[in-house]
Structures are given as structure tokens and as C-alpha cells.
């Protein structure tokens, strides 16, 4: 049911939301004519990063920009988000030992120094957790009103002996998530003053390269696809994996771990947790026989305690995700643009 004339004359907010509109924009505007990597993974694959063969290894490279509001949110800030986003994208490609990160900052005239220092301290902490550092960067300042506060852009590079794509699924493979869903996006949404909610919900933003390392150690080449469910949530990640792999996915909604706090906020706002961004989680596709071993390895790690097997791949309905609700079944949709609360 895709609308063929997808990219409008003006680029509106929905094109940044991580869903089908954004993918169409990349396909139709950004990617054509660019980015082929012979023998590797390039722009056309629209994976979490690129992988360039260098000798008998792979150079994995990824880039991200961050404009989150509010800049400081429960559980983190834009600095932590920037580092973790990039470290995690590398990890999703199978590159769990980052060589280095870059960080460019664009600031608005009037940005407070104490805030900048706080963000930088947070970046330092996140780098330490991930076992990496910032080696180069850039600084720009724009006029007041020309930029909203701060924007960060990070690039990460790593070497990997094996690259994991997001398109290697086959019917029969199992789908795992490494922990609770929807914490980040709902924590951010709940800060909106007009919603008048008081909640302890916090973002899950964290570097998960260590977690992915243990999963890869347990699963080896039986881990055939990985993706981090950021904007667009688990729904977006599963749709992409299903479409690129040419399989259907049957998702058991009851098996998807969601914290009580996140469940409460999602019910109150009328937002489906499956559509909400995560910043410290991964979706992993594993060959059926190794799924239990990978699950055990994840759960033994502090960041993977709530890991769960949530679905399986089918030959039927390629590209579709079917949700088992416990009362029936439905097709999983995708977020259309920014998530709007339905309930007051």
C-alpha cells in the first residue's frame, strides 16, 4: 500500500522521523549516484553504517547528527545520546571495538558554558563506558535564533573481522531484543509540560557494544542480522529487516519486554510502545538453534537482563510484520511522522 509519489515538494518533519517517509527520501534524493562500496556495504543498502573491505578486515564507518529536545532529559543528554548513537551503530554492523569518534558541535549564540561543560562531561563518561574517545572535531557558532541551542554530529570508525548486515534473515530464524522497549522516546515525550504527567521514566541511552560483543561470542555466524530500534522503534527496525531480507516476521506482543513505567505512560498517551525510539537496545536475528544460547549470554550481561525472544521469521507475507496480541492478530504499522499523544 505504498504511495508511489512519496517525496513531497517540501521536506517536512515526517522525513526525519525514521520511518518509511525518511527511507523514501534517502532512496529517491540522497542515495542515487552515490556510495557504492565494491565488495562491501554502501549507501544503497541503507544499513546502520558502511563497511569497506581493507585487507582481510572491514573498516566500518557511521555518522549521526543529534538535535534532541530537551537537551537534558531524564536518564541522559544530547552528549550521551551522540556518543551512544554512534557506538551502537558501529556495534550493529558487528564492529564492537570502536577505533575512535569525531564530534562536531554547532552552537547557538548565547548557549551557556555550564551547559556545554555538562554535556562534555557526559560525552566523556559515555566514551569511557564504551572504551573509546573523541579524537577530532569541529566547532561552529550560529546567530541567535538561527539554530535551536545545540546540534551535535558524530562519526565513528572501527575495524571488524566480520560484518553483520540487517538483511540476512531466513524463514525459521528467531528475533531477539536485548531489553525493555520504548523507554527513551516515552521519557522524552513525558517531559512535555502540557501533558502534565509526573513519572520516573528515564531514557535507556547507553553504549551496547559490550553487550553485542557477548552476543556475537555466543552466536557467531548464526547471528545474521542486527539493527538498533531508534526512531520509529521496534516497528521500524523489524519492517526494514523483513523487507530487506524478504521474510515475514511474526511478533509476539506479549513477549516484548516493556517496563511498568513505560507501559503506564504509553497507555495514558495512547502511543504504541512498538513505535517508540530506543537508545540502548538492539534487535538481533539469530538462527533458530542458537537463539537460546544468545539469549543466555545477553541476560548474563548487566545491560541485557530483560532480553527476550520476541518473534520468528516466516516465508509468508515477506516484508510484513504480523503481531500476535494474545487475542488475535494484526499487521504492524509504522509511525507516520512524529508521535503524537492521542490521550490528554
Amino acid at each position: 500500500m505504498r504511495n508511489p509519489r512519496f517525496v513531497d515538494d517540501t521536506i517536512t518533519l515526517k522525513y526525519g522521523a525514521g520511518g518509511s517517509a525518511m527511507r523514501a527520501l534517502i532512496e529517491q534524493v540522497f542515495a542515487p549516484g552515490f556510495g557504492a562500496v565494491p565488495g562491501g556495504i554502501g549507501l544503497a543498502q541503507m544499513d546502520d553504517g558502511a563497511a569497506i573491505p581493507v585487507g582481510d578486515q572491514w573498516l566500518v564507518i557511521t555518522t549521526d547528527s543529534h538535535v534532541v529536545k530537551p537537551v537534558f532529559f531524564p536518564g541522559g543528554d544530547i552528549g550521551r545520546l551522540a556518543v551512544c548513537g554512534t557506538v551502537n551503530d558501529l556495534a550493529m554492523m558487528g564492529a564492537t571495538e570502536p577505533l575512535a569518534l569525531t564530534c562536531a558541535a554547532i552552537l547557538e549564540d548565547g548557549f551557556r558554558r555550564v551547559d556545554l561543560e555538562r554535556i562534555w562531561a557526559s560525552i566523556r563518561t559515555a566514551c569511557e563506558e564504551a572504551g573509546t574517545t573523541i579524537v577530532t572535531g569541529d566547532t561552529k557558532v550560529m546567530g541567535r535564533g538561527e539554530l535551536d541551542g545545540i546540534a551535535l554530529s558524530t562519526t565513528g570508525i572501527a575495524l571488524a573481522s566480520r560484518v553483520v548486515s540487517d538483511c540476512g534473515l531466513r524463514p525459521g530464524d528467531m528475533i531477539l531484543v536485548t531489553g525493555t522497549m520504548a523507554d527513551h522516546g516515552l521519557a522524552i515525550l513525558a517531559t512535555r509540560a502540557e501533558l502534565a504527567l509526573e513519572t520516573a521514566l528515564a531514557s535507556d541511552v547507553a553504549p551496547i557494544n559490550g553487550l553485542v560483543r557477548v552476543a556475537l561470542a555466543a552466536g557467531g555466524t548464526d547471528i545474521v542480522a542486527m539493527k538498533d530500534p531508534t526512531r520509529g522503534g521496534l516497528a521500524s527496525a523489524l519492517h526494514e529487516m523483513a523487507e530487506k531480507s524478504g521474510v515475514g516476521i511474526l511478533l509476539d506482543e506479549r513477549a516484548v519486554p516493556v517496563s511498568d513505567e513505560a507501559r503506564a505512560v504509553s497507555e495514558l498517551l495512547g502511543i504504541d510502545p512498538l513505535l517508540v525510539a530506543n537508545e540502548g537496545k538492539a534487535v538481533i536475528g539469530v538462527r533458530r538453534d542458537t537463539a537460546a544460547a544468545v539469549l543466555e549470554a545477553l541476560r548474563a550481561h548487566p545491560l541485557g537482563r530483560r532480553a527476550a525472544i520476541v518473534g520468528e521469521c516466516l516465508a509468508e507475507r515477506p516484508g510484513n510484520v504480523i503481531v500476535e496480541t494474545g487475542f488475535g492478530r494484526r499487521l504492524l504499522g509504522e509511525a507516520e511522522g512524529e508521535l503524537q499523544p492521542r490521550i490528554c
Binding site: N3, L195, L250, F327, G328, R330, L331, G333, E336
Partner: protein, 379 residues
């Protein structure tokens, strides 16, 4: 946590499976197919779609959505009033769903794109807060059925700021059930009534309907067990040929309803006949501000100039839009040529594709009625 436990009890999968089995048994026992049941609540359709209940309904049962999406049934002239005000420079606050509903030629979103001040709010309380925070006039474009209208009424009775006013597009559901039941070719054998609206009005309001049309009405809640149990009861009543009103949502609904809320509602609003988008005239279907509240009525405070909108030709696709038939339960979204092709949530032609409670929007998001029963797990 007790509240969690209470909620979860109405999502108990064991009872759910049993109720689904009971529903299948009863439906089969009717000995004819399909048996058409209509609900008139966007939230019911949301719940049915979200829990994938249709994949579990027996094939003999056709549970249709009627005109239960308040945004979808807001008529073109009503949208035009809001758009005209916005283009005249008046600041408008509206529900997010209403922003992109097309009027004769423009939606509020279109007006905003040309510089009009349109704010999206989550409720009337937030609209009042916006009005308090500024000095210019602020008009709340109030859509929604009686459950939402009572909130607007409460706010108007509580001394809102002088710059605040209401453009009421509120609607009242019971009259439209009469219209739908009387439509030629209507095969509806039972109605599921919306539990939250009934919490306000009481289930007594349906007694006259049942007497006149000899069709059973069951009041239903919104959890999966509530919906399934209500359907089982409704099919039982259809089988027995018993036209009666039954309340399957006693924890929230009584026969008299919420007297305090009713008092507020009818003090502020008066029922008026009017067109519902695609449905034609519904006597007493619209709620308009009474004379006592004229000071807060945007229609009386402002001189709304609709002429400016008449010149633009309506979009050509609108003629093919089947929202009216879909809302009356005569057609389903798949019957519409435009569904999923020229008409999508990104590029909606009709209101049903705009609102989060519109049948077309819900079908598009949740995948309509694909037959998902056959898919097998391997494990």
C-alpha cells in the same frame, strides 16, 4: 500495583480465548451469515484493531464501524468556519486530528502553512491555558462527542478568560444510530454502544431506540474482554430475538449515567439538527452553545467570512471519496477505489483517512482485514 492488576484482568488471555470460542459457537448457531453488528465509537475500532480481534471474530459475524469518529463526521462548512477564522487572523486551537481534515478547499494545516496561527492541543484545558498565557483572542475548535463535550461545558462554566471562545463542532451520538438503523438496505441486527459516552448519558437513552427499531443494544467497555463479552451477549440477544438494552460495562455505566456531567452538558449546549459529513441530516445530532453562553460562542463573537473559501475549486478526488458510505457501514475501506492508493495517511482525500479514529486510517495502519488466521508458528 493494584491498578495494573485490575487492567490486566480485563486482558486475561484465558478468558479471552474462552469468550472467542463462545462467540464462534453462538454465531454459528445463528445459522445464517453474515450477521451484521455495528459499533459507533472510534475507540472501539481502535481497540478491535490494536488487539487484532477481527482475526479472531468468527467469519459469520460482520462487526462494522459506523459514524463513530467525531472528526470524520465534522461537516465541511464546520471545518470551513475554523479555516476562515484562521485566515482572518484569529488564533485557533484544535485537536491534532482535526488539523489536516480538508474543508471546501483548505484544511487548518493548509491555513497554517500560509501563516495562520493554529495550535494543536490535547484537550480543552490546554486551550484555556494558552488563552490565559496570551492577550489575543483564542478560539477552541471543539470537536468530539458527548464524552468530550462535557469537558468543554465544564470549562465554560468555570470562568474562562475573556479572550477565550469556542467554535463548537461537538456531536451527539444517539440520534445518528436512528438514522443508520433507518437507512434503506440497512442489515444491522445489533448495536454495540460506546461505554464512555454511556458513562455520561446512562444506558437509559437507548431504551427508546430499541423500542422503535426492535434491535438490541449492548453497552461495551474497551478492554478486549469487555468487547468480546459484549459481542457474545449481543449475539445471544439477536438469537433470542430480544430487542433490549443491556449493560455489559457496569463498572462505568449506570442507567441514569453521570447526572452532574449531564447537567453541565445541557446547561451549556443545546441539541441542533445538522449535517454530519457524508451522512446527511441528523436531527439533534449537533451540540451548539446556548444563548446563555453566547459570550463564549465564536460564531456569535466573530463575523466569519466564508466567501473567501468558495472560490477555490474542490479537489477532483473528493467526488470519489466514499467516507460517507464507510461511516454508515454500507461500504468498507477496501471498497473505496482511492484507499491505499491516492488516499493514504500522508495524502488523505477524506476525513476517514485523517483522523486517528477514522475507519480508513485505522485499517491502513493496522493492515485492514488481512486473513492472518492461517499463519503458523514453527515452534
Amino acid at each position: 500495583m493494584t491498578a495494573n492488576a485490575d487492567r490486566l484482568e480485563f486482558r486475561d488471555p484465558v478468558r479471552g480465548a474462552a469468550l472467542e470460542a463462545a462467540l464462534a459457537t453462538h454465531a454459528r448457531a445463528l445459522g445464517r451469515s453474515p450477521v451484521s453488528i455495528m459499533h459507533v465509537c472510534g475507540s472501539h475500532e481502535q481497540a478491535i484493531a490494536r488487539f487484532g480481534l477481527r482475526a479472531a471474530f468468527p467469519p459469520e459475524l460482520d462487526v462494522m464501524m459506523g459514524p463513530g469518529c467525531p472528526v470524520c463526521v465534522t461537516d465541511v462548512p464546520e471545518v470551513d468556519e475554523a479555516v476562515a477564522l484562521a485566515l482572518q487572523g484569529v488564533r485557533i486551537a484544535t485537536y491534532g486530528d482535526m488539523l489536516r481534515v480538508p474543508g471546501t478547499s483548505k484544511s487548518l494545516a493548509d491555513a497554517r502553512a500560509t501563516g495562520a496561527r493554529v495550535d494543536v492541543v490535547y484537550g480543552v484545558i490546554q486551550a484555556v491555558e494558552l488563552a490565559r498565557a496570551c492577550s489575543e483572542p483564542l478560539v477552541f475548535f471543539a470537536s468530539g462527542f458527548e464524552t468530550t463535550a462535557v469537558a468543554t461545558a465544564a470549562v465554560l462554566r468555570a470562568d474562562p478568560p475573556p479572550n477565550f471562545s469556542v467554535l463548537s463542532a461537538h456531536k451527539y451520538i444517539p440520534p445518528v444510530m436512528e438514522i443508520v438503523a433507518e437507512m434503506p438496505g440497512s442489515k444491522i441486527e445489533g448495536f454495540l454502544a460506546a461505554g464512555h459516552a454511556a458513562a455520561i448519558t446512562g444506558w437509559g437513552v437507548f431504551e427508546r431506540f430499541v423500542e422503535r427499531h426492535r434491535i438490541p443494544v449492548v453497552v461495551a467497555g474497551f478492554e478486549p474482554l469487555d468487547i468480546l463479552a459484549a459481542l457474545v451477549r449481543l449475539v445471544e440477544l439477536i438469537a433470542a430475538g430480544t430487542p433490549t438494552v443491556e449493560n455489559m460495562f457496569p463498572r462505568c455505566v449506570s442507567r441514569e449515567g453521570n447526572r452532574e456531567a449531564q447537567r453541565a452538558l445541557w446547561e451549556v449546549f443545546a441539541p441542533q439538527g445538522g449535517r454530519w459529513r457524508g451522512i446527511a441530516h441528523v436531527p439533534n445530532g449537533n451540540l451548539r452553545l446556548r444563548d446563555e453562553y453566547a459570550a463564549w460562542d465564536a460564531r456569535r463573537r466573530f463575523d466569519i467570512d466564508l466567501d473567501g473559501l468558495a472560490g477555490d475549486a474542490p479537489p477532483g478526488l473528493a467526488a470519489q471519496c466514499q467516507c460517507g458510505d464507510i461511516m454508515a457501514g454500507i461500504a468498507s475501506p477496501h471498497d473505496c477505489e482511492l484507499f491505499g492508493r491516492e488516499c493514504t495517511p500522508d495524502a488523505p482525500v477524506g476525513a476517514c483517512m485523517v483522523s486517528s479514529e477514522g475507519a480508513c486510517k485505522i485499517w491502513h495502519r493496522y493492515g485492514g482485514h488481512p486473513d492472518l488466521r492461517q499463519i503458523q508458528r514453527r515452534a
